[in-house]
C-alpha cells in the first residue's frame, strides 16, 4: 500500500518539506502494510463502536450563559483588527 503523500498533505493542510515527504512515504507504507492483518478478521454484520460506554441522547437545555469578553477571545491571537481576528484575504475577486 502506498500513500499519495502530497495529496494527503494537501487534504491535511500540512506543508511538508521534501525530505519529510520521502520519509513519510516509506514509514506510512510500512505501517499500512502492518494494517493488512485486519483483513483476516471477519467483520461481516459486526456493528461499529464509536461510543464505547453505550451512552445515548446526551443534550443540554437551551439556556444562554455568559460568553468570554472580546478581549479574552482575542487574547491568544497574533493578528487582530478592531475586535476581529485577521487573516490574509482568502477570496480574490
Amino acid at each position: 500500500m502506498k500513500i499519495n503523500v502530497p495529496h494527503v498533505a494537501k487534504l491535511a493542510n500540512l506543508p511538508l518539506k521534501p525530505e519529510e515527504e520521502r520519509k513519510f512515504e516509506k514509514q506510512l507504507s510500512e505501517i499500512l502494510n502492518y494494517f493488512e492483518k485486519l483483513k483476516e478478521v471477519d467483520t461481516k454484520n459486526v456493528e461499529t463502536t464509536s461510543q464505547v460506554t453505550g451512552l445515548e441522547n446526551v443534550t443540554r437545555e437551551d439556556k444562554a450563559i455568559n460568553s468570554l469578553t472580546q478581549e479574552e477571545a482575542l487574547s491568544n491571537t497574533k493578528s487582530q483588527h478592531n475586535g476581529f481576528f485577521k487573516v490574509k484575504a482568502i477570496l480574490e475577486d
Binding site: 494537501k10 487534504l11 493542510n13 461499529t48 464509536s50 461510543q51 451512552l55 445515548e56 441522547n57 446526551v58 443534550t59 443540554r60 437545555e61 437551551d62 439556556k63 444562554a64 450563559i65 455568559n66 460568553s67 468570554l68 469578553t69 472580546q70 477571545a73 482575542l74 483588527h81 478592531n82 475586535g83 476581529f84 481576528f85 485577521k86 487573516v87 490574509k88 484575504a89 482568502i90 477570496l91
Partner: protein, 440 residues
C-alpha cells in the same frame, strides 16, 4: 436544441434558539460587537467539547415533520473535515449518513410534488468580511444552530423554486423556529442548476441527470434567486448550444453585474473525511417520542388554508392572505371568536382585515370587533327607512321646517333630535345629511 432545466436546492435555516448548537453562548449574533458571543467551544479552543442543544434538535425534527419526512429512530452527528478560516475546529459538526429526517415531500400549488431528500442539523460557521488584503473573522455566528434542507432535483423553473422557498419560509415561521429572514442571513439558498437535453422517445436517456451541476451561492432574496436561475439557464444553454459542457463549479450571484460569477474554479477534490463525531453520543428516538412530536406540531399553513375556506366559508384568495403569516391567522380567529357575541361574521372580519390593512400589532382583536360593530350600526340605517322617518319628522314639525327654510339654519338641530329618537345609535351625520337633502 431543447433543454430541460434540472434544479435542486439546498437551504440553510438558522434556528432562533436562545443559545448556540453546542455551547451556551447566545445565538443572537446579528449586529453584535464582534467576537463577544464566543467561548472555548465555539472558538474551537484546545480541549473544548460540544454538547448538543436539545431545543435545536427538537426543532430540526419539527421541520422534518412539517416537510413530511421520516424521522430516524437512530441518528448521530458526524465531523465534516475541511479547512477554511471561518471554521474554527477544522471540521464542522454536521450529519452525514444518519440525519434526523429523510425522504419528505412537499406539494406546489400546481400539484407538483418536490421530494425532500433530507433535513439535518449542523452548526454555522464564523462570519468573514473581506477588507483589502485581509479577511476579518467574527466568531459570534460560529456554532449557531443550522438546519439544512436538501431537495431532490425536482424543480424545472425559477418560479417553482421561489414558490417552494416561500412555502418553506412560511413553514419555519409557523413553527416559530426561525425568523427565516433572507437579508439577515437566517435563510440561505444554494440552488444547483443544470440542463439536460430533451430527447423524445428515448425513455432511457430521459431519466438521466446531466453530468455536471452548477451551484449558485450568495443569493439573499427571492428576487435574486429567480434572476440567478434565469441567468444560469441562459448561460448554460449558450454553452451547450456550441457543443460544450458547462464547468461543474460554484458561482456567486452578483447583483451589480446582474450575473453569476465563478467563485472558486480551483475546486479542490471535496474529500470531507466524514466520521462519527466521537464527542457526541448518538440520538435514539422511540416511536413514542416521534409520535409525541407529531402530536405537538402546530397546524401548518396548507391545512389551515383548507380549514379557513371550509369552516369560515372564505374564498381561497382571502384564506391565503389570512394564513400567510401565523400571527395574522391567529388574529383572525381570535377576532372571529370575539365577533360571535356581536353577530359579526368571519366574512365581515376578513373584509375589514384585508381591505383596511389592519395593524394587528396595535389593534387588539376585541377592539377590531368594536370598530366593526360601530361601523355596522351606521350602515344599518338603510336609506329607505331613513327617508320614511325624515318625511315623518318633516310632516310633524312644520314650524321648525319653516324656520329652517327662512334662514334659521339652527332649527335643523331640533329636527335632527326628533329623527335621532328613532335611531338612538345611528350616525348623526348621516341623518343630518339626509335631512338637509330633503329640506332643500
Amino acid at each position: 436544441m431543447i433543454y430541460k432545466t434540472v434544479i435542486g436546492l439546498e437551504v440553510h435555516v438558522e434556528l432562533k434558539t436562545k443559545s448556540k448548537m453546542f455551547c451556551g453562548c447566545s445565538a443572537d449574533y446579528f449586529g453584535k460587537k464582534p467576537n463577544a458571543h464566543t467561548c472555548p467551544v465555539c472558538l474551537g479552543l484546545p480541549g473544548a467539547l460540544p454538547v448538543p442543544n436539545k431545543t435545536a434538535i427538537d426543532w430540526c425534527i419539527m421541520i422534518g415533520l412539517a416537510l413530511n419526512c421520516k424521522i430516524a429512530n437512530f441518528s448521530k452527528f458526524d465531523r465534516k473535515n475541511y479547512f477554511y478560516p471561518d471554521l474554527p475546529k477544522g471540521y464542522q459538526i454536521s450529519q452525514y449518513d444518519q440525519p434526523f429526517c429523510q425522504k419528505g415531500v412537499i406539494a406546489l400549488s400546481n400539484g407538483k410534488k418536490i421530494g425532500i431528500t433530507r433535513v439535518h442539523m449542523e452548526e454555522d460557521t464564523a462570519k468573514l468580511t473581506h477588507q483589502g488584503d485581509d479577511s476579518l473573522i467574527d466568531f459570534n455566528r460560529s456554532g449557531v444552530p443550522l438546519v439544512e434542507i436538501v431537495t431532490e432535483p425536482d424543480f424545472e423553473t425559477a418560479k417553482e423554486v421561489v414558490e417552494y422557498l416561500k412555502k418553506l419560509q412560511q413553514i419555519v415561521r409557523y413553527l416559530g423556529v426561525s425568523n427565516a429572514d433572507m437579508e439577515e442571513g437566517n435563510m440561505r439558498l444554494e440552488p444547483n442548476i443544470s440542463l439536460r437535453e430533451l430527447k423524445t422517445q428515448n425513455s432511457k436517456l430521459k431519466s438521466e441527470l446531466p453530468n455536471y451541476k452548477v451551484e449558485v451561492k450568495n443569493i439573499n432574496s427571492f428576487r435574486f434567486v429567480e434572476k440567478a436561475i434565469e441567468y444560469e439557464i441562459k448561460r448554460q444553454t449558450e454553452i451547450l448550444n456550441v457543443g460544450k459542457t458547462p464547468v461543474q463549479e460554484t458561482r456567486g450571484w452578483n447583483e451589480d453585474k446582474q450575473k453569476t460569477v465563478s467563485q472558486r474554479i480551483k475546486e479542490e477534490a471535496n474529500d470531507y473525511r466524514y466520521f462519527p463525531e466521537p464527542d457526541i453520543p448518538p440520538i435514539r428516538l422511540s416511536e413514542f417520542q416521534i409520535s409525541n412530536f407529531k402530536s405537538q406540531m402546530p397546524e401548518l399553513p396548507d391545512l389551515k388554508l383548507v380549514r379557513f375556506t371550509k369552516n369560515y366559508g372564505l374564498p381561497r384568495y382571502d384564506a391565503e392572505i389570512l394564513t400567510r403569516e401565523k400571527e395574522l391567522s391567529n388574529y383572525f380567529e381570535e377576532a372571529v371568536r370575539a365577533g360571535k357575541t356581536f353577530e359579526v361574521n368571519a366574512k365581515q372580519i376578513t373584509n375589514v382585515i384585508i381591505n383596511k390593512k389592519i395593524d394587528i400589532e396595535n389593534i387588539m382583536p376585541a377592539e377590531l370587533i368594536k370598530c366593526i360593530v360601530i361601523s355596522k350600526k351606521i350602515n344599518i340605517l338603510d336609506n329607505k327607512k331613513l327617508s320614511e322617518i325624515i318625511n315623518k319628522v318633516i310632516n310633524e314639525n312644520p314650524k321648525a321646517v319653516n324656520d329652517y327654510k327662512t334662514g334659521k339654519v339652527q332649527a335643523i338641530g331640533f329636527l335632527l333630535g326628533k329623527a335621532k329618537q328613532h335611531f338612538p345609535k345611528g350616525d348623526a351625520n348621516q341623518i343630518k345629511i339626509a335631512l338637509e337633502m330633503k329640506l332643500k
